[in-house]
Amino acid sequence: MNAFVAIVRRDLLLAARRKSEVFTALFFFMIVASLFPLGIGAETNLLRRIAPGVLWVAALLAAMLSLNRMFAADHQDGTLEQMALSPTPLALLVSGKVFAHWLTSGLPLVLLAPVLGLQFDLSPRSLGILMISLLLGTPLLSLIGAIGAALTLGVRGGGVLLSLLVLPLYIPALIFGAGAVEADMAGLGAGGHLSLLGALLALATFFAPWAATAALRIALE
């Protein structure tokens, strides 16, 4: 467990030294989400209807921006080899890296989403549901993304391949995440969607680190 804490701390320290990478994703999210109200105009009914989908798609793309750097730097400077040779299971260290990735690229999106939601005239209740759905959904994006990042490690043109690989896998998160807010606005209750999102998160927390670890071992050979 100490090694898990150590790797989270190391990755947070590295992110603090390279603030630009964190802020790039955050500004991307802000700008993409702000372009829609500007393009469509002040039709509040339309904006309110498209808001959950637009905010979720923007969050999804922003979370993808930093994915290809998740293991690439470690692979290049040899620290990934050291992680593989550590007495701590590699899957636990990978979980630590995924957690650190979520803290730096997922959590800021969750916190920023309600502010951006105001542009779409969402009610406070919908903003709350949006935050909860993102809180459950963004770790899922990091976990699934880790598998893709590990699979495309060291592949030429890996960035594009990564998007093609990972975006289809993001679809369930998008459907249930955006669906939760829409269902609540339609008066159907968001419980079902959020439960499914939570179930997906539990499943991915268990399996994604193992899958990513297996892919990393192949990349190391």
Partner: protein
């Protein structure tokens, strides 16, 4: 004690080496030699467990390594071609985080003493990206000084080091061997170390 039986390595459809046997006991060192591309790094990676051998097997204290992998890893220190240091972290932070990730946390005084001995006094807190190649190499080698591992596997440890650093590294290796450590390394230069030495030529 580390023992290898009939190790073989295949890259694509080319056989790099086959039937490699060796053993390293406490206080012994083994220098792996061979022309460029002979498979020296591949052999070290196989022994460390980073790559799979096409044939043959490894024993650690009489047991197959695969069955005692955790214990083997806890006793192993591997330094590859890549220095495995983070450019954005200082030398001190690099040492401490590497040790913590390896599950052997290091206190600041020990780390500072190691950096001082390796010749990085006054540069402990600089980000390693401003250091020269040789100094980066020294940061990586400082990990040897903080290590309690029994088996050291070093890939070209003498590269990019000046004369004084080579002498210092030799004395560090001698101390390790005197403590009953085991050492396996590749180098193109002839090295004189204390203890029982052997060389293994790949062809």
């Amino acid at each position: 004690m580390l023992r290898a039986h009939g190790l073989a390595c295949v890259r694509g459809d080319r056989r790099l080496f086959s039937d490699v046997d060796f053993s390293v006991s406490a206080g012994d060192w083994l220098q792996v030699e061979g022309a460029n591309g002979a498979g020296k790094t591949s052999l070290l990676r196989i022994v460390a467990g980073l790559a799979q051998a096409a044939d043959g097997h490894l024993e650690w204290d009489g047991q197959p390594v695969d069955t005692v992998r955790d214990e083997f890893n806890a006793r192993l220190l591997y330094l590859g071609h890549a220095p495995s240091i983070k450019d954005d972290l200082s030398a001190l932070e690099n040492l401490q985080t590497a040790a913590a990730v390896a599950g052997r946390p290091l206190d600041e005084a020990t780390a500072l003493a190691a950096l001082r001995r390796i010749g990085l006094k006054g540069r402990e807190d600089l980000p390693t990206r401003v250091l020269s190649q040789g100094q980066k190499r020294r940061v990586a080698l400082a990990r040897l000084l903080c290590s309690q591992a029994r088996l050291w596997i070093l890939d070209e440890p003498f590269v990019a080091l000046d004369v004084a650093a080579v002498a210092l590294l030799c004395s560090i290796l001698d101390e390790h061997l005197a403590r009953g450590g085991m050492l396996m390394f590749t180098s193109h230069q002839a090295v004189q170390l204390a203890g029982n030495g052997a060389s293994l030529r790949l062809s």
